[in-house]
Subunit: 172 residues, 2 copies
DNA sequence: ATCTGTTTTCAAATATTACTGAAAACTCGA
DNA sequence: TCGAGTTTTCAGTAATATTTGAAAACAGAT
């Protein structure tokens, strides 16, 4: 193996390992993040077995996390003609990755929060004590803010990257 | 206990429980989120023992998570004159909560990612193969985007709520 | 200096989450 | 319809994260 190839392998391995560690702090499981890193930096879409081998993980694990990445929309399944098995290709465009992650996190983190806040505000609507009103107000304020944040996230996700950059440069 | 008080207690308990569950998906531990919910809706700042009792948790657990909330800046320690023990008061202003969480998540999630990307881009700088260049470009693009996102987060966090609203209404 | 109520620490116990390995269920070609 | 290659599932196991409980440290009050 040439010097250059070795260097590249080292850099890539580090990226995979570190991205995995980061994933953990992001509330994403380590393996899923590692696979994502691997696919993002793969010259050709790997198969399940390639992933298993590179990361030294079991078939079940590789399969589950690849499926999860596909469910997020961060990875596409590719079928090659004449090949039975599936290959996996990561989205590499940073703005697309960003909008996908933003949408997904909104769906998982923001929408359920809104639901909770709405229900709590509703349930405390009619409580006539001072404490009751304070609680109701708190729920309402939180709910309105989260609603606002949610809308903003939608708007930004729907933008083209160029437009976002342009807007940013105008404002800041 | 009056009807109204019971209703309120029920609503509050639900909020605490659900906020705790949400916290989990946010990558925040359940107890920390529950305590936060409890404090946000407390008419008076509770003591460690109050928290222990309300949530039925151990002293060590209550203590650790209260400290963590204080470290985030979401909770303040209050000392009452003539009282030896400490009471804990949550920040209730939604915009402040948002900016604190944004800052903290940036510090924990974005900054380390930037660091990794920068190092990988640097290490692959000099690799002259096609694959090497592709890897380097990928790292650079990711890095530049994360850098951009990071700056935006800073700017937004530094805004006054009114200004943010105004800006939002102008743009969307 | 000692006592008392309180906070802080941390090793051990528990709970949660992720992973493995192997078997079952597909899929397509012959 | 059968069989080889591949994907999917899942019960058991391993790894990780959280919580407990009890002891140590601390800070006034006497």
């Amino acid at each position: 193996m040439s010097e250059a190839t070795q260097q590249l392998k080292a850099a890539r391995d580090e990226f995979v390992a570190q991205w995995g560690a980061l994933g953990t702090q992001w509330g994403i499981n380590r393996t899923m993040a590692q696979i994502h890193a691997l696919l993002m930096t793969a010259p050709e879409p790997p198969s399940t077995d390639d992933v298993m081998e590179e990361l030294q993980i079991s078939r079940g694990n590789a399969h589950t996390n690849l499926k999860e990445l596909v469910a997020w929309g961060l990875v596409r399944v590719v079928v090659r003609k004449g090949e039975r098995r599936e290959f996996f290709e990561a989205e590499k465009d940073v703005w697309k990755i960003f909008t996908i992650v933003a949408r997904e996190r909104k769906r998982r983190e923001i929408d359920p929060a809104l639901e909770v806040l709405r229900r709590c505000a509703e349930e405390s609507q009619s409580i006539e004590t001072a404490e009751g009103r304070a609680f109701h107000d708190q729920m309402k304020q939180l709910g309105e803010f989260v609603e606002f944040a949610s809308r903003m996230a939608d708007k930004v996700s729907a933008m083209k990257y160029g437009f976002a950059l342009q807007m940013a440069s105008k404002f800041f």
